[in-house]
Structure formats: structure tokens, C-alpha cells
């Protein structure tokens, strides 16, 4: 009767407890202790004296971001999981770079922070704990970063991909990914031409200048290797949604695209590509693993961050508007690096095209070419208007402004290159 059932339940609980006891010692490997650090290291409340953390307060496999005395403390606030295979992982890779390459530095991160309501508290909590530099790596953290920066003048807060700065301890940072999009466009065009299918696709996120700029850079690159190619566009209105992005990629492939490039975070285009078709991934160097992937246009924030951390420690950081070009080493194309092999889809591109691509890529890395070369005339839009005449180049405000949003741009980034077959997004 019910007694018997209760006893078996108790027995089960007992077994469970014993299991826990048995597993526990094996399951908590203490991280290799750094004795020299632990000697002086007695952070106020949490960190136990005997088990110093390598990255932050150690709670077994769980990390709690806290500062370490005697080190320069750097925190990162991520919008997604640290291993998302895209945007956030690229930043986390940079965090590791900083940890390993800057002397006496301690790094920590907080992942999955919702834009809006939660961000301010998280950033403030980090500032309160005494972090010296905080990188906030999503557009939606902008206001929160600004507010906390004003409360903690001793903390430098660097916001990625925004447009605000206070001239003191709060600045923004972004890089000219358009260069890599341009080269990726050359790769895609050459590939499509070799496959004999002159149709390409672009997954765009939000109707903002950045997305039109990157799409146009891609289009201009395509034109170099495949003048007859056209590009279709899908708007997904999100930065990170693997399902939606995959659906958009499939939709482009279904409507005939040979190569699909993405402006969002996930390796979806390569995953969605059917046999014989190709995808180009974004953000994270090592997310181009699928054989259908041609290359990834990746960020390499590490050197840039290391530089900023050094500036900050020396008291030289001035929060401003910082936009780095490809000569900083802050970005690249996977497969074209020194220790890397070209993906099969790229290696099989006809020799003369490949040589031209490699040459252009090297010129961007060396600084011989920059973003203004990408947007130099003549450029015609898909309505037949001449946007940029021969011998003229767009200015920075033209690259990132819409008149509707109050930019002082003359030739605003509200046009599609002639080989892009989509309509412009509505802005009102």
C-alpha cells in the first residue's frame, strides 16, 4: 500500500544522495593554482584563500566575475552566450587574447545579458566591484554604458557598435568590416561565376546605415569578379536568431542563390547551403567549419582591446568615436591567414580570380586599401543613378548616416548598388 511506495521513494532518495557523494570529489577539479597570485590575493568577500581563481571567483565550474587585487581588471558584457559561434564568441576570444597577452591583467565576463532592463544593473555591478575597464559588446547596452560611466568616472567603459561617447571615460568602438565584406564579395562572385549561376543572397538584420553599407560593400566586391551577378536581400530584424537566419538562408537558396552572405550572427548560411551551393559566415573566425562554407568575415578584437586596455592603464584612454580599419589586424577572412588553409570552395576558384582576391586582401591588411577605396566612384545605384562619380570617394558621414536619423551626410547610405536586386527598406 502507500507505505510501501513511500519506502521505495525514500530508498530512491538515499541512492541519489549516495550517488552525489560518490561523484562529488571527482567532479570538482580545482583549477591549477597560481601560487604567486594567491599570496597577496585576498579579495574582500568571496574568493577563498586556498583556491585562487584563474579568471574570476571560482565556484567549481561556475565563474563569478570579481576583481583581483594587484591586477588590472577588465570585464566584458555579452548579449549572447560566450560560445555562440558568432559575434559574442569573437569577443570572448578577444578576452582570452587580452588575458594572455597583456601583463598583469585579469578578465571576466557576464553573458546572456538582456538589452534594456538588465544591462544597466549588470554594468553597474561590475563597476561597483572595481573593474577598471568594461567592454559592453552590444548595441543595446549603449544607454546603460553611458549612465554607469557618468556614475563611475574612474572606470573606462567602451561600447561596441554604438554612436555615443562622453569625451572622458565612455567611448564607442567599431571597425570597417566593409573591407572584408568587399573581399568576401569578390570570393562569392568568383565562385558563382565558376559555378555558372550568377545569383547571390544577403541576409540583412535591421534597416540601418551599417547594414546597407556592408551590403553595398559586398555588392561592389561581387562586381569585381562577376559583373553579371545579382544579389537578393532578406531582412530578418534580429542580430541573433539561428532559426530565423537559417530560414532566410534557405529562402534565398530556394529562390536560386548560389552563395549567401549574412549580416547576422550565426553560421546559418553555410549550414543551410545545399550541396553545390555556398555560404559565407560572419563574426567569429572559427565558425566556418562546414564544407559548404567559403570563408568567414571575422572580427579580431583582441589586438584592439589589448591596445585600449594599455591606454586605460596608462591613463591615456579618452572616450571618443573610434573606428578602426583593417590595417589594425582587427579583422580578417578565414582561410586567407598565414596558418590557415583555404576552404575547398575557395581553393577551387579559377587561378586568376583567386590571385586577384588574395592580392586585394593583402592590400587591405597592409593599409594600402581602406574603406574609402571600397566606396570610390564610379558607383551606380540599382535605379540607374550615379551615386559616386569617377575619382570621388564617400566621406565617413556618408558611410554611416541616414538623413532621416539626423546625419549630416551628403550622399547618405540610402541606396543599393546596381547589382542588388532588392528594394530599399522603408524608413518611415
Amino acid at each position: 500500500m502507500s507505505n510501501k511506495r513511500l519506502w521505495s521513494l525514500l530508498a530512491l532518495l538515499l541512492v541519489l544522495v549516495m550517488l552525489v557523494a560518490a561523484c562529488a570529489p571527482a567532479a570538482t577539479p580545482a583549477p591549477a593554482a597560481d601560487q604567486s597570485a594567491s599570496a597577496q590575493d585576498t579579495p574582500a568577500e568571496e574568493a577563498p584563500a586556498q583556491a585562487p581563481a584563474d579568471t574570476s571567483t571560482d565556484a567549481g565550474t561556475y565563474q563569478i566575475p570579481t576583481t583581483e587585487e594587484g591586477k588590472y581588471n577588465v570585464a566584458f558584457v555579452y548579449v549572447g552566450p560566450h560560445d555562440d559561434g558568432g559575434w559574442t564568441q569573437a569577443h570572448d576570444q578577444a578576452r582570452e587574447f587580452v588575458e594572455n597577452n597583456v601583463a598583469d591583467v585579469h578578465t571576466a565576463y557576464v553573458e546572456n545579458v538582456a538589452e534594456g532592463a538588465d544591462a544597466e544593473q549588470v554594468i553597474r555591478s561590475l563597476a561597483r566591484k572595481g573593474f577598471d575597464v568594461i567592454f559592453t559588446t552590444s548595441f543595446g547596452f549603449m544607454d546603460a554604458s553611458e549612465i554607469v560611466a557618468s556614475e563611475f568616472p574612474d572606470v573606462d567603459i567602451i561600447h561596441i557598435s554604438g554612436f555615443k561617447a562622453n569625451g572622458e571615460n565612455f567611448g564607442n568602438l567599431m571597425g570597417s568590416m566593409e573591407n572584408m565584406k568587399y573581399v568576401a564579395g569578390m570570393v562569392a562572385g568568383a565562385r558563382a561565376k565558376a559555378d555558372g549561376n550568377p545569383k547571390l543572397g544577403y541576409i540583412a538584420t535591421f534597416p540601418i546605415p551599417e547594414e546597407l553599407r556592408l551590403g553595398n560593400a559586398f555588392g561592389l566586391g561581387v562586381e569585381e569578379t562577376c559583373p553579371e551577378c545579382t544579389i537578393d536581400v532578406r531582412w530578418i530584424f534580429t542580430w541573433h536568431d539561428p532559426v530565423l537566419e537559417k530560414e532566410a538562408a534557405s529562402s534565398l537558396f530556394d529562390s536560386g542563390a548560389q552563395v549567401v552572405m549574412t549580416g547576422a550572427d550565426t553560421p546559418a548560411p553555410a549550414e543551410a547551403a545545399p550541396d553545390g551551393k555556398w555560404g559565407i559566415t560572419y563574426d567569429y573566425q572559427y565558425n566556418c567549419t562546414n564544407p559548404q562554407c567559403l570563408t568567414s568575415m571575422y572580427w579580431n578584437w583582441g589586438p584592439v582591446y589589448a591596445n585600449i586596455v594599455d591606454q586605460s592603464r596608462n591613463g591615456e584612454y579618452v572616450g571618443g568615436w573610434e573606428y578602426f580599419d583593417s590595417d589594425t589586424g582587427g579583422m580578417g577572412l578565414f582561410g586567407f591567414g598565414e596558418d590557415e588553409e583555404l576552404m575547398p570552395g575557395v581553393a577551387s576558384i579559377p587561378e586568376e580570380d583567386l590571385a586577384m582576391i588574395k592580392e586585394t586582401y593583402m592590400k587591405f591588411l597592409s593599409g594600402e586599401l581602406d574603406r574609402f577605396d571600397v566606396f570610390s566612384g564610379p558607383i551606380t545605384d540599382n535605379q540607374g543613378n550615379l551615386v559616386v562619380p569617377e575619382g570621388v570617394s564617400l566621406k565617413q558621414e556618408d558611410l554611416d548616416g541616414f538623413k532621416e536619423f539626423g546625419s549630416e551626410c551628403e550622399t547618405c547610405m540610402y541606396w543599393w548598388n546596381e547589382n542588388i536586386s532588392a528594394e530599399l527598406p522603408s524608413l518611415d
Binding site: N3, A24, E45, G60, A117
Partner: protein, 372 residues
């Protein structure tokens, strides 16, 4: 195996003492922490460290207490919203949508604008609160009306209206009021902000970064109001009667349709007030994802609090603490697990209210054919 004592589980025949529900809930929460600790240990964490951290990150200092209470504020309001509806057995799972509509309507004051930023602050805030409640109430009225007049299940309609509200909100922030093409409106002027303790940082520097805002006080007052309605008012009695037996309520002369609509509107208004409090007190603009699923957390809170408005405050603070502490522990996800375990334990603990369990000396076997 025969032990000298038997565990006897008996159905309670008498009323349990008044303190028992609170005691079992508390025990359930403690047990949930212990079980979570065991799980944490199993997957290689250090429960003691995590526990210490939880404490220091949530109640360890004035600043963290403030963070916890800020997080608890919308939770209290949506928790009350759900409790009100659940009392009448109306399964309003649309607090999320009502929250968004509250935020949207409150934003109208700023963005239309209905009142300029230099209008008297009490007037602005009152207008925003009223608009927020109206927005939520409308979103409660629709399913309430459909339920009352056409017997359409409120579970379906409230759930679906969540999506409508979020998409409606998106339309405005993406399209009409978008700032820079992004999914958000412009930052509200200071005049539209709920007063925060941090606003007085100039006079009292220790208040710097203490973001606790007036919304918390409003939430506490709302809890008192809900308690009064439930326990003291005539309407509360009617809600209880309808909730327990609608047939009897109709027999007692109650207009059930009207009460369904009113209760859904009150529930929606509370959730809408939460939306107003968040955008005016924390986010300071209308944007995407202003609610990390507060509306659904509210359902859990209402259950764990057993629909008692004061318990809602305590549970909301606990859950607020879980969220605040949980999101700093990396990798993330621990807080959600804890929430789930707490809910599970509290619901299971109801068994103790219906059964009494005691130990009894084993007597000689009585059942014929016992195979013990």
C-alpha cells in the same frame, strides 16, 4: 526489510493550523536550495561558494539590495496581476502582453506627447501610471469580454494577445518612433522618469548608483490594495465565490460576466502598471524586450505565493534576487533552474497540507497475503 517504525500518511480530516501553509512553503524553498546545491555539486560547481555569492550579490550591501528590489518591483506587480485573476480561476497568462501594452500606453504620454517634459512631475507620473493601467486593462478586457460573452477560453486568448502586444510594440519602435533605425524609441527626457534614490546623489553621495525607484513603493501599495480587495472587500468575497463555484455565485445573485470582465481588467491594469514602472523607472525608453518574460515569471510567483498578496512581495524579492545573482554566475542558466526547482517543491509541498505524515511503531502485519 521491516523497520521498527512505519511512516503513516493520512489524509487530514481537520483543518490545518494557520501557520502551516507558510511553513511548508518556506521549507519547500529551503529544500529547493539544498537540492539545487546537490545538483550544482554533481555538475562540478561549488555550492558553498555559489551560495555565498548569491548572498553578497543580492543582500550583501545597500547597492545590491537596491538592485534586488528594482528587479522585484515589476515582479510584484505582475505577480499580483496573476494572483487576482487566479483567485477567480481565470487563467490569465497574458500578463506579458498586458505589461507591454502598459508600457506602450505610458509611452504615449511621452511620445505623442500628451504632456510636455516640463509639466509638473506628479502630473506626468500620474498620467503615465493611469495610461499604463488603461493599456493593461484594455488587454485584460478583450479576453475577459470574450470569455464572459462567448465562453472563449481565456488561456488561448491571453496567450495569443501576448504576441499581438509584442508585435504591436515592435511596429511602433521599429517603424514610427525608431531612433536611428534601431528597435527603440528615443530616450525619455528626465521629466518622465520615476524618481530614483540615485537622483539625490548630489546631496547624499552614498546614493550614487542606488537605482531603487518610486515604482517599488507603488508595488507595495498595490499589494496592500489587493490584500484589502481579497480579504476585506465585498468584491473580494464575490471573486472568491465565483472562483470556487460559479453556479453557486450565479445562484447567489452575482453577475458573473461582469465580474469576469472586471477582474481581468484589474489583472491587466496591474500588469500594465508594471510596464509603466519599468519604462519610467528603469529603461527610460520604449524598446524591444523590455520584459525578460516578467509576465510568465509572474505566473510562477503567484503560484509559489499561493495567491497571497503579501507572500507575492516576498517571493518576488526572492525571485528578483535569483535573477540578479543568477545572471552574474557564468555560464548563465543557474537562476532559471533554481526557479523551476522552487516552483516544483512548493507545489509538491501542498501534499503536506492535505496529508499528515507521522511515524508509528510497527504493529503485526494485518493484510492477508502481504509480500513484505
Amino acid at each position: 526489510m521491516r523497520l521498527p517504525v512505519d511512516l503513516v500518511v493520512e489524509k487530514r480530516t481537520e483543518d490545518y493550523p494557520k501557520w502551516l501553509p507558510a511553513a511548508t512553503s518556506l521549507a519547500a524553498v529551503i529544500l529547493a536550495f539544498i537540492i539545487s546545491g546537490i545538483i550544482l555539486k554533481l555538475i562540478g560547481g561549488d555550492p558553498v561558494q555559489v551560495g555565498k555569492f548569491f548572498w553578497s550579490a543580492t543582500f550583501g550591501s545597500v547597492a545590491t539590495i537596491s538592485d534586488t528590489l528594482v528587479k522585484a518591483t515589476p515582479l510584484i506587480l505582475v505577480g499580483l496581476a496573476c494572483s487576482v485573476a487566479f483567485r477567480m480561476k481565470l487563467w490569465n497568462i497574458g500578463a506579458e502582453g498586458q505589461f507591454y501594452m502598459g508600457a506602450f500606453f505610458a509611452s504615449l504620454v511621452v511620445l505623442v506627447p500628451i504632456l510636455p517634459p516640463d509639466a509638473p512631475k506628479p502630473l506626468i507620473l500620474l498620467a503615465m501610471a493611469v495610461m499604463g493601467m488603461i493599456g493593461g486593462a484594455i488587454w485584460g478586457f478583450v479576453p475577459g469580454f470574450l470569455k464572459a460573452k462567448f465562453a472563449v477560453s481565456e488561456i488561448i486568448t491571453t496567450l495569443m494577445l501576448n504576441y499581438v502586444a509584442i508585435l504591436w510594440n515592435n511596429f511602433w519602435i521599429f517603424d514610427r518612433w525608431s531612433e536611428g533605425g534601431f528597435q527603440m524609441t528615443r530616450l525619455f527626457e528626465r521629466g518622465y522618469w520615476l524618481p530614483r534614490l540615485a537622483d539625490y546623489a548630489r546631496e547624499y553621495p552614498t546614493l550614487s548608483g542606488i537605482t531603487l525607484h518610486l515604482g517599488f513603493v507603488v508595488a507595495l501599495l498595490a499589494a496592500v490594495l489587493v490584500w484589502w480587495i481579497f480579504d476585506r472587500s465585498r468584491w473580494g468575497y464575490e471573486i472568491k465565490l465565483i472562483g470556487d463555484n460559479p453556479n453557486a455565485a450565479r445562484y447567489a445573485g452575482l453577475n458573473i460576466a461582469r465580474n469576469i470582465i472586471l477582474v481581468m481588467m484589474l489583472s491587466g491594469a496591474l500588469a500594465g502598471l508594471a510596464g509603466m514602472s519599468e519604462i519610467s523607472g528603469v529603461v527610460h525608453r520604449l524598446q524591444e524586450r523590455i520584459s525578460p518574460q516578467y509576465g510568465f515569471t509572474g505566473i510562477i510567483i503567484a503560484w509559489v505565493a499561493k495567491l497571497n498578496p503579501f507572500a507575492v512581495i516576498l517571493v518576488s524579492i526572492l525571485f528578483g534576487a535569483l535573477i540578479v545573482a543568477g545572471r552574474e554566475i557564468q555560464p548563465s542558466g543557474l537562476a532559471a533552474m533554481l526557479q523551476g526547482i522552487i516552483l516544483f517543491m512548493v507545489i509538491s509541498s501542498d501534499v503536506l497540507l492535505r496529508y499528515s505524515i507521522r511515524l508509528q511503531r510497527t504493529t503485526t502485519p494485518v493484510t492477508a497475503g502481504s509480500d513484505a
